[in-house]
């Protein structure tokens, strides 16, 4: 059976659910790069291949439960994210240093403690730090976020799902997503700021 190139995700999913394995291969080919990138961001590069396999296998096994109530992509992200979070829970985790120390500081009146130049330096991190070093530090910083913040930040800001879609993927309210993403942004902004000041 030939699968048309322009088939929608949802059409491919319906065919795959009826046993069309070529349609499922097309889904895997279409999404593998995004799923790998998502897995790297959620669990790190070393564990990402396992999560990619577990995620796609879970997608395959659950195709008949896809009810077309959300976009197929959102449903797939939910399954892969769950696979990643289960992977994180299962593995023995080394204690990681919190990023709490990088939250913004305010004086007694609620004013910023830093100067405008100090506050803006994080915005130039990609100009001031070697690209490879920044990639290593960024991956490590993601790993230092609490799982709840990392999953919301990765889905909303790095994978660029809408807040409503992230809420759907994580099974929480939109307000909870905003709060978690905000907290992650504050920590990561402060981390980039500290990193950049050291290098500049």
């Amino acid at each position: 059976m030939t699968v048309p190139e322009a088939a929608t995700d949802e059409a491919l999913a319906s065919r795959a659910a009826l046993g069309d394995n070529q349609a499922f291969d097309e889904i895997a080919i279409r999404y593998q790069a995004r799923v790998y990138r998502l897995a790297c961001r959620l669990v790190g590069q070393d564990d990402a291949p396992d999560v990619v396999q577990e995620g796609f296998l879970s997608v395959y096994r659950n195709l008949t439960s896809f009810r077309h109530e959300s976009r197929f992509a959102t449903w797939l992200y939910r399954i892969v994210t769950n696979a990643a979070l289960m992977h994180l829970r299962a593995r023995t985790r080394r204690p990681v240093e919190s990023l709490e120390a990088f939250l913004p500081e305010f004086d007694a009146t609620g004013g910023h403690c830093q100067t405008p130049a100090e506050l803006q330096v994080a915005a130039r991190a990609d100009e001031l730090i070697d690209r490879r070093q920044l990639a290593e530090k960024a991956a490590a910083a993601l790993g230092r976020l609490p799982d709840l913040y990392r999953s919301a930040f990765v889905l909303r800001d790095l994978e660029e799902l809408t807040t409503a879609e992230v809420a759907d993927v994580l099974g929480v309210e939109a307000a909870t997503v905003r709060q978690r993403v905000h907290r992650a942004r504050l920590m990561l902004r402060g981390y980039l700021n500290a990193l950049t000041k050291v290098k500049s």
Binding site: N21, Q32, A33, G111, L119, D126, D157, E160, L186
Partner: protein, 85 residues
């Protein structure tokens, strides 16, 4: 219009950007940032953070992993190797 502290502005920033703060708060925030160089600088770095992290963590999937994924899925489905055309 009453002003707010930088800290209050930072706490409301995400909701402001998502368009879910009340109208009065939106105006107060915009007025505060317009007159506060520190907050303007903070907002710039806050907005840049996702972009920088997005670019720095955009890992490409190795080709051998792409091949092994399809083989893995076919094996799990009980299929043999793909037939050559």
């Amino acid at each position: 219009m009453t002003d707010i502290s930088c800290q209050t502005g930072v706490e409301a920033l995400m909701d402001y950007l998502e368009g879910v703060v009340p109208e009065e708060m939106r105006k107060t925030l915009e007025s505060h940032v317009a007159g506060c160089q520190k907050c303007a600088a903070f907002v710039a770095s806050y907005l840049a953070t996702p972009r920088i992290l997005r670019q720095a963590t955009a890992a490409a999937m190795p080709p051998e992993l792409q091949r092994s994924l399809l083989e893995f899925l076919r094996t799990q489905r009980g299929e043999g190797p793909p037939q050559k055309d």
